[in-house]
């Protein structure tokens, strides 16, 4: 019973990170109708920046801030420099350009920083706090949960309560009408990419200290799991990303805890297949009109 409680609690903390990363995928999907397969690699660039800044200044907060700003900058460069010029004739071309970008970014990181794992230290203790006799969350897990929920809350406020959020939503759903009404749709798409890349960078920076360490491939698995989360939740739905993240986090934690860490990727695959077969557009997807 103790073990179950512990696994559930850590699963929630891990799930919050998946949810955050999945949310970043949902942000781009809503803004540009692209699944950004390069999201993990872009977040990794920002994480290396954060690592360097923390190493130079000795301050975790400075590194975190630099990473988030760096993530936004990477999003800006990628959208303006690359994605905007991808041909729109086929829905696949955006995905393929993103895959090329993954290869370029990962190999550049490998050339500049080498293949070795760099330890990224967490700013808080990672030993779990005991509640009674039951080990639950570590202070770092708590920090992750609070940070993830705060960012999600902030994004919800941005999208529902501000004029910028209204413009972002409008240009995502009806670009032509929005343009007629004076919304700068191109600028909104760029802002969507910057927001999304910054959120992804934050998620990567929160996960990497608890996982293996910093390496040109550390976000591969994060991307796959977050993609699963986004699909399970429905690519259009931020609420789906949040709930999906928590579900996948808990499922993974339970599978890892009871069946071993090698089984976890199979668990994810099974979950993905099961959800897609029952609801091809994800659990929280909107109803689609009949096509034929």
């Amino acid at each position: 019973m103790d073990r179950l409680a512990f696994l559930l609690a850590t699963g929630l903390a891990r799930g919050a990170i998946f949810a955050l990363f999945a949310l970043s995928l949902v942000l781009i999907w809503r803004a540009a109708r692209i699944i950004n397969f390069a999201q993990g690699a872009m977040a990794l660039v920002a994480t290396y920046l954060a690592f360097a800044v923390t190493g130079l200044t000795g301050s975790y907060a400075a590194g975190l801030a630099a990473g988030i700003l760096g993530g936004a900058a990477v999003g800006f460069v990628v959208e303006r420099g690359l994605m905007r010029h991808a041909p729109h004739s086929s829905p696949l071309s955006g995905i393929i350009v993103a895959i090329g970008l993954v290869m370029v970014l990962q190999s550049l990181l490998g050339i500049f920083f080498g293949p070795q794992y760099r330890p990224m230290t967490a700013p808080f203790d990672e030993t779990p706090i005991f509640v009674g006799d039951v080990p639950l969350l570590s202070p770092y897990d708590l920090f992750v949960l609070v940070a993830a929920l705060a960012v999600m809350g902030g994004l919800a406020l941005l999208f529902t309560r501000t004029s910028l959020g209204l413009q972002l939503r409008a240009s995502a759903f009806a670009p032509e009408v929005s343009r007629l009404l004076g919304v700068r749709v191109d600028r909104m798409v760029t802002i969507g990419w910057m927001l999304s890349a910054a959120v992804a960078a934050l998620a990567a920076m929160l996960l990497i200290p608890t996982e293996l360490g910093l390496n040109p491939h550390s976000t591969d698995i994060l991307f796959v799991y977050a993609f699963t989360v986004a699909v399970v939740g429905g690519l259009d739905s931020p609420v789906g990303a949040l709930l999906g993240g928590l579900v996948v986090g808990v499922v993974m934690s339970l599978v890892t805890g009871y069946l071993g860490s090698t089984v976890a990727p199979i668990g994810v695959l099974v979950l993905l297949v099961a959800v897609l077969l029952v609801k091809p557009g994800g659990i929280f997807s909107m109803r689609q009109a009949r096509t034929a």
């Binding site: 999907w29 692209i34 699944i35 397969f37 690359l82 010029h85 991808a86 041909p87 004739s89 086929s90 829905p91 696949l92 071309s93 995905i95 393929i96 350009v97 895959i99 090329g100 970008l101 993954v102 290869m103 370029v104 970014l105 990962q106 190999s107 550049l108 490998g110 050339i111 080498g114 293949p115 591969d220 698995i221 796959v224 993609f227 699963t228 699909v231 690519l235 090698t262 089984v263 976890a264 990727p265 199979i266 994810v268 695959l269 993905l272 297949v273 897609l276 077969l277 091809p280 557009g281 096509t291 034929a292």
Partner: protein, 388 residues
Amino acid sequence: MTGRRVPRLLPGLTGTRRVLVTAVVLTVLALGGTFLLDPFRNFQLATAAAYLCAVAGLTLLIGLSGQLSLGHAALMAAGGYGYALTSNALTDAGLDGLPRFLASLVAAVVIACLLGLLLGLAAARLRGPYLAGLTLALVIALPAITSVWSPVFRGDQGLQTAYNPVPTALERLIAVEQWQAWVAILVASVVVTALTIVRRGTLGLRMRAVRDDETAARLNGVPARSVKVAAFTVSAAAAGAGGAVLCFITQSVSPGGYTLAFSLLLVVAAIVGGLGSIGGAVIGSMVIVVLPWLLGAGTAALDLPAELEQRLSGNLAVLVFGALLIAVMLLRPDGLAGLAGAWRRRRARRGGSALPRAATTPPAAADSLDPAGVADTSGHSRTIPIER
């Protein structure tokens, strides 16, 4: 095989028969070509031929039916494991030589086919990004699958298969590497010919219809879902044959050989060569075998510091491939095969001497009047019209 130069040589041949004759001629040329190469080059050629099976299947899937698979490495692995398991079982049963190879090859294709059918059934319900993600998860889960069922797949270590010597009749004539290249070329030519016939036939036409407008295709009575499933299954069978050949060449199969990076490499080959074009698949699989080797030789010749060279060794090729992928997608979505076509057209427009028939009819019209050429010109996923 898409070339319009062939009718000049054999103007009487059309349709499937022309494809078959072309295939035989090209295969004989390739087999003869192995005598000009040293053992290492022959090994590279055999590897390229194995990749060609998978790339040709993938180019058909992406280019014609518009479904992106990032999991063709896993389908190749299914073929490789199917080949190795059958081959080992038959070795235990006392069988060897050609019967063992053929039976193992058939088993490999059947197993890859079944996996492809399962994936295709899921794919028929999914749109682009969802399918790409599902196949991506399959590749990521591959090492976990082999280690969970390690009594069968033997985990990271993988399976070893028995050595296939050169047949005694040919022993004096050719070396092992050349024999392997021969087998690889023969399998690849059968696979590629079959795919070419599918591409030109009804299924190919239906795949294009579904890719371009699924609703319109359905309204015209095309069973869109079955077409998508069929496309995935055919493509998986080709990848399975490629995996079997690769296992035949290296005598082993392990999850380390079928990583996500390898899957992406197959996508690079399909796209750089030219989506939907079989000739493009040939170019693409040559590129992904030769380019890393050229880059490795290049950096070795530069006499760089040891650490830098080590960092460049794996990464430089990936960097170049990624950049190529982006460049092709942004600048020439029809790939290198499209480049060759554009060059042919420009020559035809300038002088007309390249195409003798151009003297009487304008080259574009001659192309579209050629009954066999119709399928060719509309077959490529040339999203950007080149004839302006």
